[in-house]
């Protein structure tokens, strides 16, 4: 038994050092990136990566397919844009407001949808997010088709001028890292263990005495909050909150990013988001129709590696310790 534990520990250490190497490398790359690439593009990638990671927490670790996450992402973007532009709030409070509102919205969605499973759950979240879309279209403060434009980035904590592209970039990076760390911790926590058990076999989790609805609700609210944080950040980056971010297509896009990258893996959604955003901005300057190309890539991905890019890599790696 002790040998077993030692072996377990050793693979744990190996996976741990590999993971540390991966994260360290990634961070260095992220720190150097704005000197090599266009910062706004990178910030867009980071916002969507956080959004996809938040979505993945739900589908990958709780087994819940939400088809209404645009409501949290886009809704929160409006909140940040409004409180920062109209009420003159500091950016940190703008982001806080976005997260809180998204959490509240998530609680409402969750309470209504969580009792249903599979396709019914997806449809209820879709219906609710469509309601949010129509609110965004009709309410006066959102300015309908125009959206909220010219949102000032302001000064973070009264110290950092977010008008500077580099300052903005490192702020977004810090937000992403914090959000990602929270998801990481959630997945590797006592709560995450129960969540995985529910994903794997819900009736069995119930029979072990877990009230699964409550765990799913907490996961849903967490996911919605982080999606909101991503949306609020995006509003600051682009100085804009518009209808695009609350449409059902946005809900679909985050599903696509997560599946492409590998759902249920921690890095998958980051890779997926990077891929989709890169393709979109690259293809925008060509005459190729973006949805068709991304659709084709998606079909190929699903046919060739169903676990997604990162999922497939992990499955082929010896010792699947770093999930």
């Amino acid at each position: 038994m002790t040998m077993q534990t030692q072996a377990l520990r050793r693979t744990g250490v190996e996976a741990g050092s590999r993971r540390a190497l991966l994260i360290g490398g990634g961070l260095l790359l992220a720190l150097a990136a704005p000197f090599l690439l266009y910062p706004v593009f990178l910030m867009k990638v980071l916002c969507f990566a956080l959004f996809a990671c938040a979505f993945n927490l739900l589908i990958g670790f709780a087994g819940l397919l939400s088809f209404g996450h645009a409501a949290f992402f886009g809704g929160a973007a409006y909140v940040t844009a409004h409180v920062v532009k109209e009420w003159g709030w500091a950016p940190e409070f703008g982001l806080l407001a976005a997260t809180v509102v998204a959490a509240g919205l998530g609680l409402v969605f969750g309470l209504i949808a969580i009792r249903r499973q599979g396709i019914y759950f997806a449809m209820i979240t879709l219906a609710l997010s469509q309601m949010v879309f129509f609110l965004a279209l009709q309410l006066p403060f959102t300015h309908g088709e125009d959206g909220i434009q010219g949102v000032p980035r302001g000064t973070l904590f009264g110290l950092f001028d977010l008008g500077q592209p580099l300052t903005m970039y490192y702020t977004v990076l810090a937000i992403f890292v914090a959000g990602f760390a929270l998801i990481w911790r959630t997945v590797h926590s006592p709560f995450g263990q129960v969540l995985k058990a529910i994903r794997e076999n819900e009736p069995r989790a119930v029979s072990l005495g877990y009230r699964t609805d409550r765990y799913k609700l907490v996961a849903f609210v967490l996911s919605a909050s982080l999606a909101g944080l991503a949306g609020g950040t995006k509003a600051l980056v682009f100085q804009l909150a518009s209808l695009t971010d609350v449409t059902w297509q946005m809900s679909g896009e985050v599903v696509l990013m997560t599946l492409l990258g590998g759902m249920g893996t921690l890095f998958g959604p980051v890779v997926g988001a990077g891929l989709v955003v890169t393709l979109e901005s690259y293809l925008a300057s060509t005459s190729l129709p973006v949805p068709v190309v991304i659709g084709c890539i998606f079909v190929v991905c699903v046919l060739v590696f169903r676990r997604g890019i990162v999922g497939e890599l992990l499955a082929r790696l010896p010792g699947k310790g770093n999930r």
Partner: protein, 267 residues
Amino acid sequence: MGDQPDAASARKVSSTDIILEARGLTKEFKGFVAVKEVNLQVRRGTIHALIGPNGAGKSTVFNLLTKFLTPTRGQILYKGRDITRTKPADIACKGLVRSFQISAVFPHLSVLENVRVALQRPLGTSFHFWKSESSLHDLHHRAQELIEAVNLTPWANHTAAELPYGRKRALEIATTLALDPEVMLLDEPLAGMGHEDIEGTADLIKRVAADRTVLMVEHNLSVVAHLSDTITVLRRGEILAEGPYQVVSKNPQVMEAYMGTGGTGHA
């Protein structure tokens, strides 16, 4: 295994004590009566088997008792308390834990994690998403003990999906035992097993039943012959006969019921 006779005599002493009881339990599905006026008394410390041919309503009774279904009429009492309206997750906290017909493991968790998930609930940190997983490492010792008890130690770090069928059932029992239940409800624990696995698992059930109550659903009469103290035979949603194997197996109605489905309780 050495303390088996002691356990058996202990069982006799407390045999008047009813731990789980169903009164007039009835379940209707849109006009079809699946279970009709079932009165069942499970005595503390016994192994009680619920058997019957296909469609007899055993699984429905089982799901009613474990609260996965709500009865149309009737009452369920656990230790004298009415649990008819209690939620399925809550009866587990009271010491009433069920297994499933299809082996119920968490396939992508390791064997150790499977058992640990059951152990971690009493810690009260199961909603703590900000806490490290290493806060659960204190449970590993107890988890290893349980895994050892069902002879799965060499498999501890494998994912449950990799286990052969019989081992999955063993893991399921270890997970159930982790909750230290007073009553274990086993849904066809021997179904789909080869002969070698049946013996091992039957032994295991006997062993774990030494200091608790077991209610199990089975298809075959002879499988439970040596295992159970009391056998209740169901047919078309009603109780046909009840008693120890020697009595039940000689009941002409029981023999007929089994003839009717084409098998005299062969194993």
